[in-house]
Structure formats: structure tokens, C-alpha cells
Amino acid sequence: MTHSEFDSFRPPEPARRRRAGGKRGTGRRDVGDGSREMPMVPEPEFTSYYGRPVVKPAPWTEDVAAYLFLGGVAAGSALLGLGGQLTGRPTLRRNARLSALTAVSFGAVALVKDLGRPERFLNMLRTIKLTSPMSVGSWILSAFSVGTAVSAAAEVDRMTGARLPLGPLRNLLQAVEGPAGFEAALFAGPLAAYTAVLLGDTATPTWNAAHEELPFVFVSSAALASAGLAMITTPVQEAGPARKLAVLGVMGDVVAMRVMGHRMDPVVAEPLHQGKAGVMLKWSERLAAAGGLGTLLGGRNRAVAAASGLALLAASALTRFGVFEAGLSSARDPRYTIEPQKNRLAARRAAGITGDSITTAG
């Protein structure tokens, strides 16, 4: 915009720097409250403090979303591994065990990498805090990792023709291999589910509102992803249980997601349908469905099975990234905090419950 004949002599206006961490509001929707200073903005539909978020999003990068995905893959794989172990499917067992170890290792690295002080990751085991899903999860993850590592080590030893320099430990390894597989599988379910509690137990509006259904979404997603991975790695002959698990996982995932979306306050559910998260979740469902159908219809064909497995893995990743992203964006916009809270407060008051408001007349 040119205002005077001297404009050409003005210094260039620097691009506005926004502070990282989102201290500043994104939208301007609210401006009329704190903000009589901006008369030319349309009337707000709700009030906030200059559009700034009320709650803060977790300072997590996509490493954490990746961990959600990898943790699920690992958990499901451990179950498949145990199944293979118990039902005499050595290839499935081996591949699942190795998958579990790989996934959980990358997952743990992603998790540590995301810490503000990674060198202090061991502090995760400083306490056992039942109120902290992160603490509980850390113990689950540790326990799971022990069994997974042992059982996978046995597989590796076997694959390398017992060339690992284990010495007398080899006997021990072979002895505990089976129980280790059990142990890992014991913690597999919790590993797949606790991350849902981790997200649900936050003030991040969309995650918190999802806390009833999110565990089902996550275990389903873990199941279909790990099954998909097994379908890729394991010949069709041994991958039958994986295919069944995949189909069950897809069913669970689609149903749980739908139920979740419906039971949430429509405002808080918005981030699940909008923006990047909306796109990811939409494709997640499509890919899950495709993967499920592929498995059902062509699962016995190695190529179709592998393609379906890939689709399922992608679907699971998209679910995790989508849910992750939806939560973060719900925290960044004060509307998702304020409106549902106002609604539920009004609803309680309408129902005659007036004694539990944080705001009081005296």
C-alpha cells in the first residue's frame, strides 16, 4: 500500500516474526473483547484474550506421533510373535519378534529424542506414578522391551547360526526365550493402550474429549499395523492370523473412530475433520478400509498381501499423526477450550447443578 510520495525511501518492512511456541493467537476471531482497539474486525462469536490459546499444546514434535505408531506396531508384533510361538509358526514368530524389537527401539529413540533433556531419560524410572500415564507407560515400555529384546536376541542368534558371542549365556537365553515372549506379550496390550491414556489425560481439548474411545482406536490401530507389517514380512502361509488380526483391527479402528467422533462435543471434534489432521484421518480410514478389503479378498496373494499390509501400516501411521495433530491444533485455538467448557457449564447449571463452578459470586 502506498501512502505518500516518500514511500520509495522507506525501509523495507521486515516480515513479522512470530514467536515460536505459539504465544500469540492465530485467529482474530475473538477480537472484540480484549480488543476494542480493532474496530474493523467482525463481531466475535465467543470471547477470548486476543485469540491467544488458553491451554498450551504439548511441546511434542512428530517424533511422539511416530512413537505412538511404532509402539503400536511393536505391541501388536509381540502378540503375533507369541501367537507364532504358541502355534508353531516360526517365521511369523521370528519376524514378529524382530519387528517388535525394531519398532520399540526406534520408538524409544524417538521418545528420548523428544525430551527437553534427553540425557535425563533415566529419570523416567525415578518414580512409579500411577497418576502419570507417562510414568506407567515408561515402566510398561521398559518391561516390554526386556522381553522383546531377549526373545529377539534369541532369534538373531538363531539366524546367525549361534555365532553371537554369548558363551554360557546362550543356554540361559534359550531357556528364557519362551517366557520372554510371554512377558513381552503381557505388556503388549498395555503398551498399545497406554498412549491413548497419555493423550486423553491432558487438557488438550480434542484428546481429552476422546479419552473414552481413544484406547480402542489405538489398540485397533496397533493391531492392524502390526498385522500389516507381518503380512509384508511373512509368507502367506504363516500369515493367516495376521490377516485375521488385520481385518479385526480395521473393523475396530473404523468403528472406534466413528463412535469417538460422534460422542464428542461437535466443536471439539472439529479438529479431527479439519486441516492437516482432517486430511490424514480421512486417508487413514480409506487406507484402512482398502487394506482390510485387500486382506479379505486377496490376502493369500503375496503381492496383494504386501500391498494391503503397506496400506494398513500407512493407515495406522496416519491415524496416529492425525490424532496427534488434531489435538495440538485444538490446543492452539482458544475456541476449542472455551466453547465446550462454557457449554458444559451452562448445561450443568440448566440441570440445577450450580455448586461446582470455578467462578463464584462469593
Binding site: R19, T87, G116
Partner: protein, 336 residues
């Protein structure tokens, strides 16, 4: 085991033996002059680094934006016209008319509180404009979301009933950030801001930012409390808008103040955090507000997420069972 919700004494809940009376703030925004002495006194005491990009934040005189890792007291500035003042007065009156049950023994003046139905909606000296200022701070909740989700025990409940981060323990997992329903706690990034090139040298001279990567928030000056000193912000506050003391006294003072404002016809006055039946079990830092909480950037109906944790664990248990069952089903179906 301690409680996850409802009225309780938080220090007793944490099993402190040498428990002290619970300490808290009462921030009376009706006498805040927006001087920001609290922000500076806090930064001075806690050696918190400068925050922000050194440009106007487009929010009246507020240029620090909100509470965060390096700003533990934050003064909000809200400019309002007559329409909004009337609305605020109405919403305050509606609150009174709800006949909210008072918690504990009613304050002396409150029992003989004014019949607000007959109070003129236009008190003396009504302005067609007002400028609200309010110093926000960590609420030191009775049920603190941040504390309960902390996996390392870095966050702990002190013997004064306050919630404090131990810088030497925290590993910066960030769970607490999402756990706070008030958006208070934050993980400190490098703490430094983008600065003009010619100032780089000067900034290089600044002392290194402490506690990078660690969650940070108001400690209610725990280190001062152990020596029986007033927290830095409350000590500096020129008009006693920030009061510090035993939590019970603070709530009592707050109730008396709101009654006195109501008697002057200022029905917009209300308390925030003084109700132990609320979603966080009441807060250690109580506020007197002159409008709806969200106007100041406060959540209107916060609920500590941990209150629902048992339910979440149950649901997770069911999901785990489902997953195991599905796996079992997959294998039990016989060899394909």
C-alpha cells in the same frame, strides 16, 4: 492413596509430616494498576530470561503475551466499551442469582449480603469505557494436572500445598504442559529471542539461560517460603492487588472483598478459584475478576484431566482385553 478430585488438603494428601498451612495468593484485579512490577520482580528473583521478540504483541499494553516458561506472572490488559461492561455486570448478577452455595462458614458480611435484585445496574460513576488489568499466575491447584502426570517426580507438592518443579530432576518430557488446564506450565526453549544482528555481540554477553529444556512455572517462591519470606511478586505489588498468605485467609479476604464490591453495585465482581467443589478442587491462587474468566484468558470451566484417569484406565483395560482377544481369535481360528 491421595485423592484425584474433590475437596482435600493437598499437602496432607501428599503425606507431608511437617505440613505447613497452605499458602496462596489472592489477586484482586479491581485494584491492579497494570504496572507489571510483579512480572519484573518475579524474573529478577527467579533469574528468568527475557521473553519475546521485542515487538508489540498487538494487545494493548501487554507485550509478554501470557504465562510461559519464562514469564511466571503476566499482566493482562483488556479494553472494553460500555456494552461489554453492561454484559459483565449482568453475568455477574446472574452468578449471584444462581444462589451459589457458599463453601464453609459464610463470611461475616456475606450472610447479610445485599439484595442485589434491587441494586441499580448503573452504579455511581459508571464509565462508558474501562481498562481491565489482571496479573495472572500459576493456580497451584488442589488437584494439579501438571503434577499428577509428571513421570519423574520433578513436579511435587510442597509442605505449603504449592506445586513446584525441581529443575534438577525434570527431563523435559512435556507431559505436564498438556496436563495443565490453565495453560500455565511450559517447557523452556532456548529462552533467547531473535535479535537484530547488531545486537548479537551484546546478547552474547548475557548470562546463559538457565534450565533450558525443563518445564518451568511459578514456584510460589518456594525458596522464599522456606525462609518465611513473601513471594517476590506479592512483595513488590504497589497496590496490594497481589496478596499473599494462608490460603484460608486469602479466600476469606476475597469473599469479603467481593461482597463489598457488590454492595457498591459492582455486580461484575466475582471470584475465580475459590470453590473447592470445582473441577480442580479449588486453586491455591484465587482471583477477583470483573468479567467472565475467558476475557482474561482463563478457562471458564477447567477440569483436571486426572480426575477422569480411573475411567481412562478402565477403558484402556477393556481395549487391551479386546486386543488380546482379537489376537487370540486370530490364532485360534485354526491354521489357514
Amino acid at each position: 492413596m491421595g485423592q484425584l478430585s474433590g475437596p482435600t488438603d493437598p499437602a496432607a494428601d501428599a503425606r507431608w509430616e511437617d505440613q505447613q498451612p497452605r499458602k496462596g495468593f489472592f489477586t484482586d484485579t479491581s485494584i491492579c494498576i497494570g504496572c507489571k512490577a510483579c512480572e519484573v520482580a518475579c524474573k529478577e528473583w527467579n533469574h528468568n530470561p527475557q521473553d519475546g521478540n521485542l515487538e508489540l504483541l498487538e494487545s494493548s499494553y501487554d507485550n509478554t503475551g501470557g504465562l510461559g516458561a519464562s514469564t511466571w506472572r503476566h499482566v493482562a490488559f483488556v479494553e472494553q466499551g460500555q456494552e461489554r461492561i453492561t454484559e459483565a455486570r449482568e453475568s455477574g448478577r446472574a452468578l449471584v442469582n444462581l444462589g451459589m452455595p457458599r463453601i464453609g462458614p459464610p463470611p461475616t458480611a456475606a450472610s447479610a449480603g445485599p439484595d442485589l435484585a434491587n441494586v441499580d445496574t448503573t452504579p455511581p460513576d459508571t464509565a462508558d469505557f474501562r481498562w481491565l488489568m489482571s496479573s495472572d499466575v500459576c493456580k497451584h491447584c488442589t488437584h494439579a494436572g501438571c503434577l499428577d502426570v509428571c513421570p519423574t517426580g520433578a513436579l511435587f507438592r510442597t509442605e505449603f500445598g504449592t506445586v513446584v518443579v525441581q529443575d534438577d530432576v525434570c527431563n523435559g518430557c512435556g507431559t505436564c504442559v498438556a496436563g495443565c488446564p490453565f495453560g500455565v506450565i511450559e517447557r523452556r526453549s532456548d529462552g533467547m529471542v531473535a535479535v537484530a544482528a547488531q545486537r548479537e555481540e551484546q546478547h552474547a554477553k548475557h548470562p546463559a539461560v538457565p534450565n533450558v529444556g525443563v518445564a518451568q512455572k511459578c514456584t510460589l517462591c518456594y525458596d522464599r517460603l522456606v525462609n518465611d519470606e513473601t513471594p517476590a511478586c506479592a512483595k513488590a505489588c504497589p497496590t496490594t492487588s497481589i496478596k499473599f498468605g494462608n490460603h484460608d485467609d486469602m479466600v476469606e479476604t476475597a469473599r469479603e472483598r467481593v461482597v463489598s464490591l457488590h454492595q457498591q453495585g459492582l455486580t461484575e465482581a466475582r471470584l475465580y478459584g475459590a470453590n473447592e467443589l470445582d473441577g480442580v478442587g479449588g486453586t491455591g491462587a484465587v482471583f477477583l475478576l470483573l468479567d467472565e474468566p475467558e476475557v482474561y484468558g482463563l478457562p471458564p470451566d477447567p477440569r483436571v484431566p486426572t480426575a477422569d484417569l480411573p475411567q481412562m484406565y478402565r477403558r484402556a483395560g477393556m481395549a487391551v482385553a479386546g486386543m488380546v482377544a482379537a489376537a487370540a481369535l486370530a490364532f485360534l481360528g485354526g491354521r489357514a
